[in-house]
Amino acid sequence: MEQLPCGVSKSTYAQDMAVIHTHTQWGLLGILFAFLCVLPFFLDSLWLGIVIHISIVLIAVLGLHILTGLCGQISLGQAAFLGVGAYVSTLLSAKLQFPLPISIICAAIFTGFFGIIFGLPALRVKGFYLAMSTLAAQFIIIYLFIHLPFAGGSRGLFVPIPQFLESKINLYFIIMGMAVLMTAFAKNISRTKAGRIFVAIRDNDLAAEVIGIRLSYYKLLAFFICSVYAGIAGALYSLYIGHINYEHFTLMDSIWYLGMLVVGGLGSTSGAVFGAIFISFLSKGTSLLAAQMPILSPQLASTTGIIVFGLILILFLIFEPRGLSHRWEIFKKFYRIWPFSY
């Protein structure tokens, strides 16, 4: 159970369910928002790009958090669904001249329904089998990107970027705004009826069915929400990168997203946030460091990021399977009762 600061007492259910309990927490949240608002003005172009990328990754990981963390269905195809979002939004705005917001929304909805197709096996099978279905999705979707006549083949597509978003700072505000919105949305999903049902399905799907939950509907709903997140992340990613091709959406990326979720801590929104930030910085950091180390041969330097990521995943699973968010809870507990821990 979450430990609250001393002296917080609650008298209504609404108070108990609130995400933010105290004035201090409101203050901290305000400071965080202020920080995010002024951040782009202090970063150079490289780091601004990294922060934008992390926000996009965060949206993708949040989608996975709802599907895997809350509902317990494994997906190995998140990156491919990102790709679907990116391609659909690019095609809509390039070929059909849709305005950007509308093409993003269409891309999100399309990706949502596309995700449902590969979620269909979830109606009959679970666990490992589902991982297989999403793995197949990953390969089939990448194949479609390369071979569909209008998807530009292996060269990919150029993304028409509106004038307004040419400046990275504007792009930052749009994408960071979306990331914050999606985080709030993900946090709130876990408090709704659907969110509780997801958790019930994760913990024991048979028991959930027995108490009258429509398993098939809610599993597909989780797939839908996850894919909508992926679609939005993909559409934003296409704006950030400017030129999309299949290489941005490989199985490796899907594994990265899953790994971020695990390192952050499955089943908590803060875990998804921690994981996305921690692993992104880690991978950037190691690749920057490795490039500067003359001992490493160039090819070893190029794979150091992957090796470190694999190692981190393994170490986290062995030593801290509940992830960074669990550590964070322990830390909060510590400082809230400090110095009178008894």
Binding site: T68, G72, I74, F118, L120, P121, R124, V125, G127, F128, Y129, A131, M132, S133, L135, A136, A137, F139, I140, Y143, I146, H147, N204, L206, A207, V210, L251, M252, I255, L258, G259, V262, L266, S297, Q299, L300, A301, S302, T303, T304, I306, I307, F309, G310, L311, L313, I314, L317, I318, P321
Partner: protein, 294 residues
């Protein structure tokens, strides 16, 4: 018809290698219910270790192969002891992600060290082509087919007629029962990983002979999944038949469809089959249907 035969023969050869790799996967799944996403990395390691011993050190083939099996076995042993054992009793998701992490770690290391350079083994197989009913194919296929068939037969013998094979089947049946009759279940797990890794290594060696060693070998680890799903996860005959069927279907489909859609069918066709299997017959041809009670 000749064309079909040509595709089918190439497909059967690939299929036997798939069967071999899938055998390792099924072995681990049967004994410990662990899904090994790192099977392709065993293949990769096998290919490059063989390359190191045979091409670089210039050892004779037989010695190189023995060393390759030993190295692969050791890798499997280390993986089981260090990473899989601590996860006993954890949910399936953790174990899947653990093997994914392992696969990243291993493939990253191998690619980092070797640069994923394409390597070939010295030619020790006669190059004269073989003719069967109008179809022409290189003798390498016949040899690989032979080796793979022998290995599959050997493993079948191991399961059915040796003491450790019996232990393994007992462990697969029920951990508690196996323990109660004095089988060391933990050692059986370790053995399963050693064998799976060694078999994967040999698979890598064979694929290396057929198509050269490169970073692409890891793909074959993922193609194991359509194979085992078709055959049924727990079934060794299923893995063998599944491997053949997927190999033939993939090659025949690629042969006829590639010119129409512009290539790449081999990479995607097994997965299309996999989705169809998952929707219509998720437990495969010989798998155990899961019946759940509360």
């Amino acid at each position: 018809m000749t064309l079909f035969l040509q595709f089918a023969i190439a497909g059967i050869t690939m299929g036997v290698v798939y069967s071999l790799i899938a055998l390792g996967f099924v072995l681990i799944y049967k004994s410990s219910k662990i899904l090994n996403f790192a099977q392709g990395e065993f293949v990769l390691v096998g290919g490059y270790v063989g390359l190191f011993f045979i091409t670089q050190l210039g050892l004779p083939i037989w010695l190189g192969v023995i060393l390759l099996i030993a190295t692969s076995g050791l890798l499997g042993f280390a993986i089981e002891k260090l990473t899989i054992r601590p996860l006993v009793g954890q949910p399936i998701l953790s174990i899947i992600i653990m093997t994914l992490g392992l696969s990243l770690l291993i493939s990253g290391t191998v690619v980092g060290i070797t640069g994923a350079d394409i390597g070939t083994y010295p030619e020790f197989i006669p190059t004269a082509p073989i003719h069967i009913g109008g179809a022409v194919f290189s003798q390498v296929y016949a040899w690989c087919f032979g080796i793979a068939v022998i290995l599959v037969a050997l493993s079948t013998y191991f399961f059915l007629h040796t003491r450790y094979g019996l232990y393994m089947r007992a462990t697969a049946e029920s951990h508690e029962v196996a323990q109660s009759v004095g089988i060391k279940v933990e050692n059986t797990f370790t053995l399963a990983w050693i064998i799976a890794s060694a078999i994967g290594g040999i698979g890598g060696f064979l694929l290396g002979i057929i198509m050269g060693v490169s970073g692409d070998l890891t793909q074959f680890g993922l193609k194991v999944f359509p194979v085992v799903l078709l055959g049924g996860l727990e079934s060794i005959p299923g893995a063998i038949i599944g491997g053949m069927v997927i190999g033939v279907l993939e090659n025949v489909a690629a042969g006829y469809l590639d010119p129409l859609v512009g290539g790449g069918v081999t990479e995607v066709f097994p997965y299309i089959i996999m989705v169809i299997i998952l929707i219509f017959k998720p437990y495969g041809l010989f798998g155990l249907t899961r019946i759940e009670r509360i």
